[in-house]
Amino acid sequence: MNEPMDFLIWTKGTAFNIAVTIFVIGVILRLFEVISLGRKQNLAEARGTEFGPGMKTILTRSIPDLGTFRRQPLTVVTGYMFHIGLFISLFLFVPHIELFRATFGISWPGLPTPIVDAAAVLAIVGLLAGLWHRIMNPVMQKITTWEDWLVWALTFLPILTGYLAYHRLVNPYPVILGLHILSVEALMIAFPFTKLMHTFTVFLSRWYNGAMNGRRGVES
């Protein structure tokens, strides 16, 4: 009789402690590693500066590029849908903000729940369309590795279970809330060791790209 609640309590207690420990140690370790390794020294003569083009690329790579959009519209559209949807549902849902406040000591204002709900649907549709694109597109097929499937599933499950829990579509409630928390914990544990780390390194790598091109005197 008490099993659903035992499960929820375990995910909110022991499992969360394990996941947050691995996540925090892993992310900090990986960031140190990535930053301290830096890039291989380029011995060729510099034809331009690094800093300016690096900063510029952080901006230019963050807004959609018309050429890419024409060639791969789905990549661009699903990418934005999913990332914006995920950002809103993860960071602007009040219960999540309360969790950040309790765990990391920082908080910020949230959004009304109907907006968060719509954002979650946007993220789910974006991810499903992205998956379809990955399966159907020949180029995507060739460049997809097992890690891509894993990362997709680890990202999709928290949003799906969160949606199901919010709308109470699974009974009893502690089961679906527990599954939601557990799926996030799986994501947190895999986070530092997979391409999910791009969350923290995205602007850094954009800067590197711009800086390398700038040094070569190439526009990026």
Binding site: I9, T21, I28, A102, G105
Partner: protein, 363 residues
């Protein structure tokens, strides 16, 4: 002892008018989500219902459930239904004591074999039978003995339904619920700490009317009362959806009646009828009085996180874990960076400049 008089006789004796009785039947039908066409059937069945024998066993409990059921309402038809049952054994309420009390229980069991309703409040200790005994009989033994010939069992309160407070971590007595022990009888869990009085009279009325138990949810609770969450029926819900929350118990938000989620309300995970039936004859209920729901009708509510922590907050204080993990990450990261810098430095020192001439010579 169960006598031959019907509920109709009993109500008339207490001066309840036909009109009052039908009003009660209508209210019961609507409370239990039955169609209005059922009202005459309910009235007829209740009218003719014989006094059922009820044996009430109290184990590891605080008597809060009995207090709730017997004292929270002023005399009403509901309480007369409650009076009407032949409460043949109840520690707190019966006049008899000692051997006489136990004899009453045994007589009721014997005379109404297979027909009596067993009500249990309190959890049963399995750790050591000595933790809770009545007349030298352990709770486990008394429950097994009394449940054997019961028609149905009503587990009143969260302790009897799920283990409740006695089962809270670290559960020193090894407390378990009725359903953990009895598996071959219909069990109706009327959870809550304490449960709403109307819920138990509703369950009894259902039993008297249909001779069966109402439809139950996954936790064996009557769906009519436990079918919806506090959160979904809360009158403060619009504030939750708008993102308007009380941050402390005395801020402007609290005064304006905003949502109590951030102050620890467990309404979203709690299924009970408080938001609709309210307490003390519909006067108020916890959230209306300005305090968040504790989630008392759910299993292990005592262990499910601090009462004043938001539902989404982890159970243990994670700030220390995060601080330690952060320190460990920094230490490991610094070590990794040190090794990386050393390697890069060595590579740079070992670097030799190669000219075209060198390459031509070696080829």
């Amino acid at each position: 002892m169960a006598d031959k008089s019907t509920l109709g006789d009993s109500l008339r004796r207490h001066g309840v008018s036909r009109r009052g009785f039908l009003k009660f039947c209508t209210a019961t039908a609507s409370l239990m989500a039955l169609p209005p066409t059922m009202v005459p059937a309910i009235a007829q069945a209740l009218e003719k219902a014989r006094r059922p024998s009820v044996i009430w066993l109290s184990f590891q409990e605080c008597t809060g459930c009995t207090e709730s059921l017997t004292r929270s309402h002023s005399p009403s038809v509901e309480s007369l239904i409650f009076d009407h049952i032949s409460l043949d054994y109840h520690h707190t309420l019966q006049a008899a004591a000692g051997d006489a009390a136990e004899a009453a229980r045994e007589a009721a069991m014997h005379e109404n074999k297979g027909k009596y309703i067993l009500v249990v409040d309190g959890s049963i200790p399995l750790g050591d039978p000595g933790y809770s005994t009545i007349a030298g009989i352990s709770n486990l033994q008394m429950l097994e003995e009394t449940a054997k010939d019961a028609a149905a069992i009503i587990a009143v309160g969260t302790c009897a339904a799920f283990g409740g407070l006695p089962q809270a971590n670290p559960n020193p007595t090894g407390a378990v619920s009725v359903a953990d022990i009895i598996t071959d009888k219909p069990i109706i869990n009327v959870s809550g700490c304490p449960p709403i009085p109307t819920v138990i009279t509703g369950v009894l009325a259902h039993f008297l009317t249909f001779g069966s138990i109402p439809e139950l949810d996954q936790y064996n609770r009557p769906k009519v009362f436990y079918g919806q969450s506090i959160h979904d029926r809360c009158y403060r819900r619009p504030f939750y959806d708008k993102g308007l929350f009380a941050e402390t118990f005395d801020d402007e938000g609290a005064k304006a009646g905003w949502c109590l989620y951030k102050l620890g309300c467990k309404g979203p995970m709690t299924y009970n009828a408080c938001a609709t039936t309210k307490w003390n004859q519909g006067t108020s209920w916890p959230v209306e009085s300005g305090h968040g729901c504790l989630g008392c009708s759910e299993p292990r509510f005592w262990d499910a996180g601090g009462f004043y922590n938001a539902l989404s907050v982890p159970i243990s204080d994670n700030s220390q874990t995060v601080a330690f993990a952060g320190a460990a990450g920094l230490a490991l990261g610094a070590a990794a960076a040190g090794i990386n810098f050393k390697e890069k430095d060595a590579a740079q020192k070992a670097h030799e400049t190669v000219t075209i001439d060198d390459l031509e010579k070696s080829s």
